[in-house]
């Protein structure tokens, strides 16, 4: 064989390109919801939305790379709690990522759009490895004016200790741009057969306020002179705002016997401010007594 031929064959061999399939276990990947819509922001607003990165086969840690495509000034207002590169731990089907938009006080009013992409980064690279990604659209409107929108997502009745006041847990969702709270509530207490009304409690103040664009869980206490003996009761609670019913719930709950430890714990939880002040006064008194004794010596 002539040297030229050998060189030609060698050249062909040398420029051969190999792509061999790699064994990669593959899972579906996505995001829910695929948008962050903040339509009623005003200068100074802070808005947070939790989105979930979802996958069906979380067999291994999954590296995520975030790519932000946002215009100025929106880019400087947006933060992601997980950062731009993070790992979804093995075994996690739904991974929460919170996107927060903090609008400065001097922000220009306007409508802003952009995207945030979350792309997987497979750890076991093949030749041309396929990575999956999902894009979240970000739509922000900064304007003026009050926007009110709120709802109660859940009401539950707590079991309480003997002699305690009825307690109701509320999940309050405020989608508006101003703080919101109830301005009234009623509580009707019935016996275990739901036939005899034992107490009627009206409450017109003391409701906690939910900041704009947030969901708050809190407990509402209904003080009553009626002694809550051990047993089962029916309760009907209704919450009002601007003389309109916001939410209502009727169900049974139990009054249970409490041991001294539970009573002490509940007392501390309820009266911790006064206990703290009392402890500080006692400490001060002890200090003064000790100092006086030392001076006398």
């Amino acid at each position: 064989m002539r040297p030229a031929s050998i060189i030609a064959i060698a050249s062909i061999a040398a420029i051969a390109f190999f792509v061999v399939p790699a064994s990669v276990t593959y899972a579906a990947f996505g995001v829910s919801p695929p948008f962050v819509n903040a339509d009623h922001l005003v200068p100074g607003s802070k808005f947070s939305e939790t989105i979930y990165l979802v996958q069906d086969q979380p067999n291994q840690d999954l590296n995520i790379q975030t790519n932000v495509q946002l215009p100025d000034p929106l880019k400087s207002w947006v933060s992601i709690d997980r950062g731009f590169n993070f790992v979804i731990p093995q075994g996690t089907n739904q991974y929460a990522v919170t996107v927060t938009i903090s609008v400065p006080q001097n922000a220009s009013l306007g409508v802003y759009h952009g995207t945030i992409s979350f792309d997987t980064a497979p750890s076991s690279a093949g030749q041309v490895t396929i990575a999956l990604g999902a894009q979240v659209s970000v739509n922000v409107t900064v304007g003026r004016g009050v926007f009110e929108k709120y709802s109660v997502q859940q009401i539950t009745f707590q079991d309480i200790g003997e002699g305690e006041n009825p307690l109701v847990n509320v999940k309050f969702e405020n989608d508006g741009n101003v703080p919101e709270s109830f301005d009234g509530a009623t509580y009707e207490l019935y016996d275990r057969f739901d036939t005899v009304r034992l107490a009627y409690i009206q409450k017109n103040d003391g409701f906690l306020t939910t900041p704009p664009f947030t969901i708050e869980d809190y407990t509402v206490e209904f003080p009553t002179d009626f002694y809550m003996g051990i047993g089962e009761y029916w309760g009907i609670v209704t919450f009002y705002k601007n003389n309109q019913i916001v939410a209502s719930q009727k169900t049974v709950f139990n009054v249970i016997k409490t041991d001294w430890l539970s009573k002490t714990k509940r007392f501390i939880e309820k009266e911790w401010v006064f206990i703290l002040i009392g402890a500080m006064l006692l400490a001060l008194l002890a200090f003064l007594v000790v100092r006086r004794v030392r001076r006398m010596k």
């Binding site: 990947f29 995001v31 980064a121 497979p122 030749q127 490895t129």
Partner: protein
């Protein structure tokens, strides 16, 4: 039944007065010791279902290409006691509000499917039954294609409700609805049937010709999606690189390189004409992309590695 007379020992004086009154009464009415029979009929009371809630009061987030557990909690009460509850039967419904509980219950209409209606015949007790009251939990495996009700969905203004129907052994019934229902969020998700694109073995200054590599994408969410593609890592073998923008191409139909195919880019680009509609069952909504490659002249041998990203893009 013989009734016992219980006289409280208030005092000797009051005791004497009571004895006196008793004797006078006996004298007047001629009453002596009498056996009284009393009877009470305990009626059958209907059970109550209350405090029905969906997913702990939170919006429902689905999981790509699989089911997600969604809990419905409720309290069942019956004044006749716990036996009425433990011996009863129940039906628990979870449904999109537009479907209505009656349609979901009877599964009537072609539109009532796992897209919008789930039905189970048993709950799990989440408390011990005391004085005829039982807290319950029912867990539904909701499919990834269940219909969204958020503001960007086709069912904006609706939500997912739960209804619990309970029937005692005495055949009395009670029903409770969740109030309010919960939003089911839109989920955008994608799956591919292969983890790699296999171009085989090619020489320098050649291309894949008509030997397209095929990647099938499936919709793993509950909304229609388009597809964006880009190369997140260009093809490399050691220090040798095959430029992405002049090598890999794709198309939604088969081609002979380069034909009508489009070059892959380093920035995400939407694939024209590629839409995966929202699935309506576990049958895959799938579509293929066809891939080809050209190897530049004088490209050194090696096993080249790179990464192409298939990115789902919301397509309402």
């Amino acid at each position: 039944m013989k009734h016992k007379r219980i006289i409280a020992p208030l005092s000797i004086v009051s005791g004497a007065i009571l004895v006196g009154v008793f004797l006078v009464t006996e004298t007047i009415f001629g009453a002596t010791s009498t056996n009284l029979t009393s009877q009470v009929i305990v009626g059958i009371s209907a059970p109550s279902v209350s405090a029905v809630s969906v997913n702990g009061g939170s919006a429902i987030t689905l999981t790509a290409n699989t089911t997600t557990n969604v809990n419905v909690n409720a309290t069942v009460t019956d004044s006749n006691g716990c036996a009425e509850i433990t011996g009863g039967t129940t039906t628990i419904l979870l449904y999109r509000s537009g479907v209505t509980s009656s349609s979901c219950l009877t599964s009537s209409g072609a539109a009532v499917t796992s897209l919008n209606c789930y039905l189970l015949g048993a709950f799990t007790a989440s408390s011990t039954c005391s004085t005829g009251s039982q807290n319950t939990t029912t867990t539904f495996a909701v499919q990834y294609f269940a219909q969204a009700t958020d503001a960007s969905s086709s069912y904006n203004g609706q939500n997912w409700m739960a209804t619990v129907l309970f029937r005692t052994p005495d055949n009395t019934t009670g029903t409770g609805d969740s109030s309010p229902g919960q939003t089911l969020n839109t989920m955008l998700a994608l799956n591919v049937t292969t983890g790699t694109i296999n171009y085989g073995t090619l020489g320098a200054n050649t291309n894949s010709g008509a030997n397209d590599s095929i990647v099938t994408s499936t919709n793993a969410g509950n909304t229609s999606t388009t597809l964006q593609l880009y190369a997140s890592a260009t093809l490399k073998s050691g220090s040798n690189v095959i430029p992405t923008t002049t090598s890999q191409t794709y198309s939604t139909s088969s081609f002979t390189y380069q034909g009508t195919s489009t070059f892959l880019t380093a920035a995400a680009a939407t694939v024209s004409g590629f839409v995966l509609t929202s699935p309506t069952s576990t049958n895959n909504v799938a579509k293929a992309t066809f891939w080809g490659i050209a190897i530049p002249n004088n490209q050194p041998t090696g096993t080249y590695q790179g990464t192409n990203v298939f990115q789902a893009l919301f397509n309402p």
